[in-house]
């Protein structure tokens, strides 16, 4: 029954699996797809990704090599035998994948990914700059507390697209010097930033890919995210949660500049009601 060469279709399929696996791995390994990283916790996120790339890459390559090998080898004919496995043999076979994947996956979550997760969601470092970002269809509004360092009261009823986009309450003394900008975020390099997140209408997601920041903004909830930009430059702010027909163009600019320049810039900004 056994023939020396497998049929052409088996060789083709085996070759397909091998080439598929090799090209896939090459595509991940040879090109650095990730955008530059510009935040303190960013390398932690990237490390997690690279760890999973390596682990899954090995499993993927080995799995496909075996699959291709079996297809090629066992298409040559032969006389299979009916030999059911004893439960004991079955369980001992299972032990390998169970152990390997439990360890590999939980190491990713806890050991490699854990520290970065805690950085993002842990306690806020002292001396952080607090700003507010408000999402609305299809625009980003940014508020700085102004010279008094306090955010003034806002109310939905006061919101007006042109005259008062975040709904500042004029009567609140703390509100008068609040700085409101459209679509642009200035941040000091090297200083921790806490962003209060609000939405005026639907879900949005505050995403700055280069800073490895992504946090949904849920209307009705005061959201929060924190990070430390460590590399001066100009980055992009994107909305990462479908928010309507203009979702794709809900972009913004993030300017990270050295602290003195940032301070100077901030002093030059007039309050919304000034």
């Amino acid at each position: 029954m056994e023939t020396a060469r497998p049929p052409a279709s088996a060789s083709a399929l085996a070759a397909f699996f091998v080439v598929l696996a090799a090209l896939t791995a090459l595509g991940f390994a040879a090109i650095s797809w990730l955008p530059v990283v510009a935040s303190e916790h960013g390398p932690g996120v990237d490390r997690t990704i690279v760890y999973i790339l390596v682990v899954t890459g090995v499993l993927f390559l080995v799995g496909h090599a075996v699959l291709a090998g079996f297809v090629w080898r066992y298409s040559r004919g032969g006389t299979p035998e009916y030999r059911p496995l004893s439960p004991k043999v079955e369980w001992s076979w299972a032990l390998l994948p169970v152990l390997a994947l439990t360890v590999a996956s939980e190491v990713g979550v806890l050991v490699i990914g854990g520290p970065a997760w805690s950085q993002i969601y842990g306690e806020t470092p002292a001396g952080a700059l607090e700003i507010e970002v408000v999402g609305k269809q299809f625009e980003w509004l940014v508020r700085y507390p102004g010279k008094d360092g306090r955010f003034g009261r806002t109310a939905a009823e006061l919101v007006h697209d042109v005259r008062n986009p975040v709904g500042l309450d004029k009567k609140d003394p703390a509100a008068s010097d609040d700085v409101v900008l459209r679509g642009a975020l200035h941040l000091p390099e090297g200083r921790p930033v806490v962003v209060r997140l609000r939405s005026l209408d639907v879900l949005h997601s505050f995403a700055i890919p280069e800073l490895r920041v992504k946090q949904d903004i849920v209307p009705g909830h005061l959201g929060r995210t924190q990070f430390r930009p460590v590399r001066a430059g100009s980055y992009e702010l994107a909305c990462a949660e479908l928010c309507g027909l203009g979702h794709y163009r809900m972009s913004g600019k993030v300017v990270v500049e050295p602290a003195p320049e940032f301070e100077r810039w901030l002093r030059e900004q007039a309050g919304w009601f000034e």
Partner: protein, 570 residues
């Protein structure tokens, strides 16, 4: 209330075209009806996908309007998940196969079965009709997150289109629930003599678990949809908080939270993935066993893995919401349990591969797709680790990595399961074979376009390209990633063309395929002990009993290398 068919003895085929092919209670006819309905819906969903790809390849031409684009992605996802894959794989093959596999003359409740089909038909009509209403079809994503889905002011599709979407989904859930009840009762109570649970073909196990998962998880979506309908039309505030502003006007809603909907939706949404993927794996086991002439490796192990997956799938829904602002400790919990799903999944994947070991592989079209399915499980399953690990999901969430990932899992694995199943059981459905040559062409056109296409989407996600983006050129950082869009679109055209080959083969073979006998693949399970196509009542003679394991391939001695499950022990 509901009664068993009894059916014993009284299995005279009904007369008249209507009773026989339209309002039939025969599980095989109903299965084929579901399958053909899914084919129609698949054509629509594919056209939507092509429009999406055209827009993405040439965004500067603005082929569709932005509001149309969000409707396209919403409806493509909804149709594919609920009205194509669910219908063809779970409702179609489930109906056709379960009674034949367990040795029953029909489902436990044939009338309920017919009802389940005739409930889904208006569901399909409503879904398709929503394209024609003012504002167009639903546009809040297949996940229908409020407030976007709750307010007509938020997006045009959230007008009448979203209402029709919700009603159609309600009909779908009703239909799926009736089907699930039938599956569970038929598998547990209507097995033939000797068909113990551990003698069930693996595909039947997957249908059983899939049905149980469906029964337990779909009610969450029902509740979510009822509350959403009320928020939309009755002015309640389940999901809508105070202070929503549209066009300088504050809405009167109070105190609701959009996160509530997300939790309810994903309590269904995640198990739904396994509702669809498990039966595809089951089909993979059947086909690989028959074409490798080996019993599937580790039957018990596979059954236990399926059970573990079912349990885990109900407690991990939060991994879709890592960046939603949920408690970070909760996020960590969801991450820890989520990645554990890779463990039973890898056991299943390895069992599939090991089933080839020392086999005598014959690469017919059914087997080609089953092997493609194994590869897709590998890619889809491993890709899940990136998204299940909270820290990396932070970067990948709502990117094209997610799109590529789920197109491998609930896209490729399920479709390959459907294709493998179609080539394999077509003789039992129609008494004819599908054309082998066309089948191979279909396979090669499919894999050479599909795999690179969805793999490129993973790279795009790594490059930060965000999903549901009408025109990605708005951003500069994603330049490398979006540069792949044209290639992906061309591959999508290739994939579409490959499916035409399948459709031609399917409909041509129904009428002109080579006729086959009872058991064209020399397979072992009970459906191959009756004529092709199987008659009304499934067996003209007595229903066969199960006397052995469902996979006695490679038995030496005698002219044949297999022993039917119904063969008595010597």
């Amino acid at each position: 209330m509901i009664e068993s068919s009894g059916h014993e003895g009284g299995h005279e085929a009904p007369r008249g075209f209507l009773r026989r092919y339209v309002f039939s209670t025969d599980h095989k006819v109903i299965g084929i009806q579901y399958f053909l309905t899914a084919v129609v819906m698949a054509l629509v969903a594919t056209v939507l996908a092509m429009l999406i790809r055209v827009q993405l390849a040439w965004p500067e031409k603005a082929v569709v309007a932005p509001e149309t684009y969000v409707s396209l992605v919403t409806m493509h996802g909804t149709l594919m998940v609920f009205f194509v894959v669910s219908l063809a794989l779970v409702s179609g093959f489930g109906n056709f196969l379960i009674p034949l596999h367990v040795g029953a003359r029909d489902m436990a409740y044939p009338f309920l079965n017919m009802l389940s089909f005739w409930v889904i038909v208006p569901g399909c009509v409503l879904m398709l009709a929503s394209f024609l209403v003012e504002g167009g079809a639903a546009a809040a994503g297949w996940t229908a997150y409020p407030p976007l889905s709750a307010l007509g002011k938020a997006v045009p599709g959230s007008g009448l289109g979203q209402t029709l979407w919700l009603l159609a989904m309600a009909l779908f859930i009703a239909s799926f629930t009736m089907g699930g009840l039938n599956y569970v009762t038929t598998i547990v109570n209507c097995r033939t003599r000797g068909m113990s649970m551990m003698r069930l073909p693996l595909v039947v196990w997957t249908f059983l678990i899939s049905a149980v998962l469906g029964l337990l998880s779909f009610p969450a979506l029902t509740a979510a949809a009822i509350l959403l309908l009320l928020d939309r039309h009755a002015g309640t505030s389940f999901y809508l908080p105070a202070g929503l502003v549209f066009g300088n006007e504050t809405l009167p809603h109070q105190g609701g939270t959009p996160l509530l909907f997300q939790h309810l939706f994903w309590f269904l949404g995640h198990p739904e993935v396994y509702v669809l993927v498990l039966p595809a794996l089951g089909i993979g086991f059947e086909v690989i066993a028959a074409f490798a002439r080996r019993p599937p490796f580790g039957y018990r192990l596979s059954v236990y893995s399926i059970l573990v997956i079912a349990v885990l799938s109900m407690i991990v829904w939060g991994h879709h919401m890592f960046v939603s602002g949920m408690n970070p400790y909760l996020g960590k919990y969801f991450s820890i349990v989520t990645v554990l799903i890779t463990v039973p999944f890898s056991v299943l994947g390895l069992n599939l591969i090991a089933s080839l070991w020392r086999g005598r592989i014959r690469l017919d079209a059914a087997m080609l797709f089953a092997l493609g399915l194994v590869s897709a499980i590998g890619i889809g399953g491993l890709g899940g680790l990136y998204l299940g690990t909270a820290t990396s999901d932070l970067y990948f969430h709502d990117s094209y990595f997610v799109v590529g990932h789920f197109h491998f899992t609930i896209g490729t694995v399920t479709f390959f399961g459907i294709y493998a199943g179609t080539y394999y059981w077509f003789p039992k459905m129609f008494g004819r074979r599908m054309d082998e040559g066309l089948g191979r062409v279909h396979f090669w056109l499919t894999v050479t376009s599909l795999f690179p296409m969805f793999l490129l989407m993973h790279y795009q996600g790594l490059g930060g390209l965000l999903r549901r983006t009408y025109d990605p050129t708005v951003y500069a950082y994603n330049a490398a990633a979006r540069g792949l869009n044209l290639s992906i679109t061309l591959l999508a055209f290739g994939l579409g063309a490959g499916q035409i080959v399948f459709l031609v083969n399917l409909f041509r073979s129904m009428f002109a395929g080579e006729r086959t006998g009872e058991n064209p693949w020399q397979a072992t399970t009970l459906e191959w002990t009756t004529e092709s196509p199987a008659p009304h009542g499934n067996w003209r003679r007595e229903v066969p009993s199960a006397h052995r394991s469902p996979y006695e391939y490679g038995r030496n001695g005698g002219a044949e290398d297999f022993v039917l499950q119904s063969a008595e022990k010597a």
